[in-house]
């Protein structure tokens, strides 16, 4: 990690802790996280729109864009493997979700857009990037399944899983609470290099 120290964080993350993080920091989490992906986001907003209660408390929580493989044992639900899904699909929901519930951390892969980054700056929230496909490794940080919501309605992959975690990570602070977004920065850098690479493509090949 070349001089980069792992910052150990404990949930619930307060605004002050989150404000102290900078894009490029590498962190791990102890505490509790909620998985929330496509169907779950939609259901939260459908319930809010119709004035109905949400059966779990998202206030100041850390959410994880993930659809795990689960196994039911005699001792209850166990996570077989869990890893991040592409966060970009949830861009239309996230700014509102962050502002309404003061979400402190969003864990996912591939980053999110400007509106989410703005909501993160306004509220005090960070985007923590996990390595896509490295689910076996990441799952070692899951200690216990504390609860599940909407299992029958959404199915196993899309249910809301309440997970207790220890040394969950390492995760990269890719969007901090000060507006810095490593994904969009790299995207701009790539766009800048794109023309140069294209111009260099040879004209004659076959």
């Amino acid at each position: 990690m070349a001089g980069r120290k792992l910052i150990k964080l404990k949930t619930p993350l307060g605004r002050e802790t989150v404000s102290g993080l900078m894009a490029g920091d590498v962190v791990s989490l102890d505490g509790e996280i909620f998985t929330l992906r496509d169907k779950a986001h939609k259901r939260v907003f459908d319930l809010l729109k119709s004035g109905k209660e949400i059966p779990f408390d998202l206030r100041e929580q850390a959410i994880f864009h993930a659809g795990p493989i689960m196994r039911k044992t005699k001792q209850g639900w166990k996570v077989v493997v869990i890893g991040p899904t592409t966060s970009a699909r949830l861009e239309s929901f996230e700014p509102e979700l962050i502002k309404r519930f003061k979400i402190r951390a969003v864990i996912g892969k591939g980053g999110m857009g400007k509106e989410t980054a703005d909501a993160m700056r306004e509220t005090g929230c960070v985007y923590l990037a996990a390595v896509g496909g490295a689910a076996a490794l990441l799952s070692q940080g899951i200690k216990k399944v504390a609860g599940v919501f909407w299992l029958n309605e959404n199915g196993e992959a899309e249910a809301v899983w309440q997970l207790q975690v220890k040394d969950f990570g390492p995760l990269i602070v890719a969007i901090d609470a000060h507006g810095k977004n490593l994904f969009t920065e790299n995207e701009n850098s790539v766009k800048g290099k794109e023309q140069k690479q294209i111009v260099m493509l040879t004209r004659i090949c076959l």
Partner: protein, 294 residues
């Protein structure tokens, strides 16, 4: 001519396919792992090195604990090559379905097949056309089944363009570079990028997918196509996408191109990719009961 051996029993077949699926899902590709090790050695960007290191650690943990590398275990698509002298004694599609249901329970796999409109999950990775099986026949004495699952993220990045037949090859190369730049980190790079040129709209996408099954260090046998593969990889690396789109020296494991003849009025180009774990298993069944999983 006498063909020795009485063929494979259905139960043997089902168990071998489950084993092959487990191999793909849990072990991934050694060639990809070697390439990621090489990229990590060459990488100078701290965050890129960190993430490549996690990929390597992930191979270790998955293989040690015999759990899936990634929670997105893809969808069951098989490529079957049936040898003319192979004694097929059972319904191949039905047997593959049985293997998929068994694999879903045992490996386990995530249930990933939903109705395209209602989004209702079939629950066991079967139904509504799945498992999909593509058949080819050849003159030989074995049955070969290839299983190559990949995540939805990489699948969603597939692209097709029907170029004018008079388009210059550099336009095709530009399309490829622009597409990969658009993908950024959404397909879990570094991926194996597959390009199919020619055939037809459906065929070029099949060629692109076939291209992703080649190892990262295996170049096309045609020297000029191989040169195009090298050039595109160089330009794609020059974009600086890096592992998971956070920047770095390498943005892909390989660019593989497959070509086919095409209608004189067309130039179809398909782009596919296979994410970094490189999940794949090839099983060969022989009449004498021998089974080989690679």
């Amino acid at each position: 001519m006498v063909v020795l051996g009485s063929g494979i029993k259905k139960q043997q077949f089902v168990e071998a396919i489950v084993e092959a699926m487990r191999k793909a899902i849990v072990f991934g590709s050694d060639a990809n792992k070697r390439e990621i090790e090489k990229q990590r050695r060459e990488e100078t960007c701290g965050l890129a090195k960190l993430q490549l290191g996690q990929m390597l650690e992930n191979f270790k943990v998955a293989r040690k604990k015999r759990i899936p590398l990634c929670q997105d275990t893809g969808v069951p698509i098989f490529y079957a090559r049936v040898g003319s002298k192979f004694k097929l004694n059972f319904d191949l599609r039905e047997a593959l379905g049985e293997a998929v249901r068994k694999a879903t329970k045992e490996i386990p796999l995530r249930a990933n097949i939903v109705h395209p409109v209602s989004r209702e999950n079939t629950g066991n990775n079967c139904g509504l056309g799945f498992p999909f099986v593509f058949f080819d026949f050849f003159n030989g004495n074995y049955l070969e089944i290839v299983f190559c699952p990949k995540g939805g993220g990489s699948e969603n990045m597939g692209r097709l363009r029907m170029f004018e037949p008079t388009a210059q090859i550099e336009e095709v190369k530009r399309f490829i570079v622009e597409t990969v730049a658009e993908w950024m980190g959404k397909c879990c790079p570094p991926c194996t990028i597959g390009i199919g040129i020619g055939g037809g709209a459906d065929i070029c996408l099949n060629l692109a997918k076939k291209a992703t099954l080649r190892e990262p260090d295996e170049r096309n046998k045609d020297k000029k196509i191989a040169e195009m593969e090298r050039e595109l990889l160089e330009k794609i690396n020059g974009l600086g996408i890096g592992p998971m789109g956070l920047g770095g020296k390498h943005s892909a494991l390989a660019v593989n191109i497959e070509i086919a003849g095409t209608h004189t009025a067309t130039l179809p180009v398909g782009i596919a990719n296979n994410c970094w774990p490189g999940r794949k298993a090839t099983t060969r069944f022989y009449n004498n009961g021998k089974i080989r999983i690679n």
